[in-house]
Symmetry: C2
Subunit: 300 residues, 2 copies
DNA sequence: GTGTTAACATGAGTATTATTCATTGTTTCT
DNA sequence: AGAAACAATGAATAATACTCATGTTAACAC
């Protein structure tokens, strides 16, 4: 059976022009190479070298092997070099995603300065993993996910980050706007919910929240600004984090109503694999320090 | 150290989704694969899989390995398949060259019909090896060379093919044209030789012949037709095989003079490596049978 | 929960393979 | 012909890969 060692040996023999010198370069004995070539020729049933005088010269089949070696060995060497870099922590990428697009508004700011502390560590935000970050994390396509709720998954590690409150954003002319007690799920049963939609099964609200709300009607729109405008003109109510809603209040015509604390509070976690690399742990600590105790990550 | 076996194993684990099933496909035990992965991870110092529950899932480093595997393994498999074909004699190419361009005029005719006898064997004429065919043969870039003279090389095999005679081709108005005894080397000392030139060091005449002729002047021209015309108008004498010169006699104004037999006779051989494959031996036999006894290979 | 299954991990022993050492056989050079 | 350079070979040893038996863990059923 053909092995990489065979390719290494044949490559060196042809580049050095003799078995003896190739053996020296490979820190092996001439005998070892001679046996290897012999075995490979026996196993493949094909002569690879012509014994011309005391020299070995590649024949057609041998040339063919060298051609393949020249394709294969650089790839292998590059791979080994890259694995080595990974081991030494030189080259590492931390791929991040969140369960909520709005998080991307403030996340990048928290990451500034990290590059200086860990110069070899690259950070990538993987937007396509949004809303399914834990699946991506388990599939090895992500190193860090910002999620609200642990989802009962015990094979991953969850580090608490902060808590926020969900509020309803609605027109100040809406009947509910006058209410001065926190909202219950049941309050939404007779209302129209305007929700951000990514795909048919995805919206910006956590699935359990939507199913609990069970509004009379749901309008899906894939643009936040459009949602806010619809809400402003009384076409429905939307639900978002208090810190996200805040920026829209000053634009006029809008008001917010909190949900009752028990049902409207989201617990955010930094979700990683249990065995975290050093830079990843550092990044989580950094994010945690910046966010802990705040209710407004956008200002943290 | 990374081996192809590691790549085979990782590839199968990711395609099958489990170590156990991969082991079955590879006709190995689950334990064997488990050890291999463990050893590779230990040796490279990099985790390749995340142990998520009871499943193994590739992480970034593992993905990187798979990426390289996908480049490497197809090349290896193709190589192995091709070596197998070579072993079974299915795919073999016989690369031929000669020491003399004129041989290409009649060589292809001798090769017709060979394809039917050995359908898996491909024949290529390697023109760039002309004039140095034995070097190419030793370098593994040729399987068969048609040469005149054995060159004292004892590591190659020489099969006699035919003999031909060198003649001088000259204008019938040339003083020498009246001569009725064979030419000696010394006859050329006062003459101008018109010779085919390929490169600065190469001409169609064998090197020893040119040095023996030592003509007064040598004119190199890279076109046979031009040489003949120059000779026809008395601008010099050229030297070629009798069978090659014959075709020009009927065009008028030209005559040939033979060299003395001992110095003008060329012995042609089919030169191969000592261990010849079956189809190559067949081809040599075929050429030999067609040429043996003739002095005019162009008519054989 | 408790058992059961399915999957991977581990350690010890065995089989296989790779390498070395010592030697022989060739070829080339002088 | 002798020496030097190189490759081939066989036997012994070192290294490695693999199996077997068993342990561990997680997921699932009841």
């Amino acid at each position: 059976m053909l092995t990489l060692q065979h390719l290494y040996i044949i490559e060196k023999i042809t580049s050095e022009g003799s078995v003896t010198r190739a053996a020296e370069k490979l820190n092996l004995t001439q005998s070892a190479l001679s046996h290897q070539i012999r075995d490979l020729e026996a196993a493949s049933g094909v002569r690879l070298f012509n014994r011309i005088g005391k020299k070995l010269v590649l024949n057609e089949a041998g040339q063919r092997v060298v051609t393949s070696s020249q394709k294969v060995l650089p790839v292998i060497r590059e791979l080994e070099a890259e694995l080595k870099e990974m081991r030494e922590g030189k080259k590492q990428t931390i791929r991040i995603s969140t369960e909520c697009y709005t998080c991307y508004h403030w996340l990048p700011r928290l990451l500034t300065g990290f590059q200086e502390d860990y110069p070899g560590t690259d950070i990538q935000i993987v937007a396509e993993a949004t809303r399914r970050p834990m699946e991506y994390l388990e599939a090895g396509k992500l190193e860090l996910a910002l999620v609200n709720g642990t989802n009962g998954n015990c094979s991953l590690h969850f580090e608490p980050l902060f808590e926020d409150r969900m509020v309803a954003l609605l027109s100040d002319k809406h009947p509910l706007a006058l209410r001065n007690t926190p909202l219950e799920f049941s309050d939404m049963h007779s209302e129209t919910l305007v929700a951000f939609q990514i795909s048919s099964s995805n919206n910006l609200l956590s699935p359990d929240l939507v199913s609990n709300l069970s509004p009379k009607k749901v309008i899906h729109i894939p643009m936040t600004e459009a949602i806010v405008e619809m809400v402003r003109f009384g076409m429905g109510i939307t639900v978002m984090a208090e810190w996200a809603a805040r920026q829209y209040l000053s634009t006029g015509g809008l008001t917010t109503l909190p949900f009752r604390s028990e049902i409207g509070t989201r617990h955010w976690y930094a979700c990683t694999h249990k065995d975290r690399s050093e830079p990843l742990a550092g990044l989580v600590g950094r994010i945690q320090a910046a966010l802990l105790g705040t209710e407004n990550p956008a200002a943290a």
